[in-house]
Symmetry: C2
Subunit: 251 residues, 2 copies
Amino acid sequence: MVNSRMKPDSAPKSSELATRSASTTAALRGAILAGEFAPGERIYEQGLSERLKVSRTPIREALKSLAGEGLLDHVPNRGYYVREYSVDDIVQAYEIRAALEGLAARRAAQIGLAAEQRATIEKALHDGEAFLERIEFSSADRVLYGEINSAFHSAILAGSQSRMLRDQLRLSQQIAPSSHRNIVAFERRDVRRRHDDHYRIYEAILCRDAARAELLMRDHVESVKIALIRSISHRPVFRDEAGGHPILESE
Amino acid sequence: MVNSRMKPDSAPKSSELATRSASTTAALRGAILAGEFAPGERIYEQGLSERLKVSRTPIREALKSLAGEGLLDHVPNRGYYVREYSVDDIVQAYEIRAALEGLAARRAAQIGLAAEQRATIEKALHDGEAFLERIEFSSADRVLYGEINSAFHSAILAGSQSRMLRDQLRLSQQIAPSSHRNIVAFERRDVRRRHDDHYRIYEAILCRDAARAELLMRDHVESVKIALIRSISHRPVFRDEAGGHPILESE
DNA sequence: TCAAGCATAAATGTATACAAAACGAGCTGC
DNA sequence: GCAGCTCGTTTTGTATACATTTATGCTTGA
């Protein structure tokens, strides 16, 4: 017996952004991640309303959503503020990401990758190989490598077949790119090493070695964290102003 | 130079639920976690509006928030639905929780616990000891032990001094209690063992042994997952209907 | 009989008006 | 000079009216 009060299988149309609320959310998210707002800056509803040519209602819904995603802070009766992330926050985001992506790799190994996911990963590995053949890396290449890297990680996340992991990871993944300070090592040696990591992780998943897949993936992401810490400690300008913990030094 | 457009340090009043939107969110969250809605059931705005005596506006804000927390699903133009969690989802929630609480314990060990947190933990350990002296466990005692357990874990989370971990953990922690199927082993032997785990975890944190604290905490939470799986496989009624993965068997 | 399409009802999405709270400037009194 | 108050402005919170979309049942036609 099918109950009409049950959730439909999927969205009615394939087209995204069905409502103004959704498109506003997407636009605002993009603007924040692109750094168009200063950290800690207050967001005024009416200003956005005029700028985006919609009423305050969808604006408010977008702000609520983004606050739930951790991009904004909300203080009742005092509005929304662009959330600030300290260096320590970014480091922590990598720690969390490492743990969660480790879980994703483990699950992917347990379940086994679908053909489509294997193809995506193999293409990413191949593209990475081609990328490493190059003589020089430009700043545009950073973006390119980022996409290759992202394809690899996304495919494994898809392989975990876990909406919960996907949702949780989105929270921690969104942090890092949102910070302009997130300039990880981009030496050829570092990229080469990370690319090698990808091979090993893929192999472990193919062998259905769940424990090894998790270990390798976690260490792989942690290595980016380490590189970030290294690059920061070489630049004492970015000392954590929050007067914080001895985390950065002790690790 | 202090910019007036910066976020205030904290909320204006200590009193919670400053707005109707906030109190509605809290009320709805409580109702959902208490199981007052069937999984997959559709939530109608107007019905809630009449029941809670507020207009649709704060209702809609509450629904958006709860969707962000993972308690509801939203389909554009088709409303909100109470999110359903399969057995596999619950097991996964424990896996994620184990990984994240492991991170929290690690950080707490690195930073070192504050006096207040040590006192809370020691009280929880003491209360647990008294609890285990009892002859019999009633169903009301489940709640009591749950509170003792919660005090212990919350104190360590507080000791991690990490808002990110707190936020991420809330997502995975809210899942498990929301399911009425979440009946973990409550034999004296199990409780005794978990209580011992707590001692060891606390000792590791006091010794500032971050790696050990993480390992112990992760295994501690994973053990609840294992107990859950065990209890399920003894009751084949609860076979995962989603036709899923070999996760439950393979682990 | 059944499928397609239209009409109607009901629910969500959006705009707007109004209420309440917070902020800031200026005044007052000491 | 300065603390504290008042009052007006600004901004957020809430209610409500309207628009749009979706669901449903009926009719129609083959």
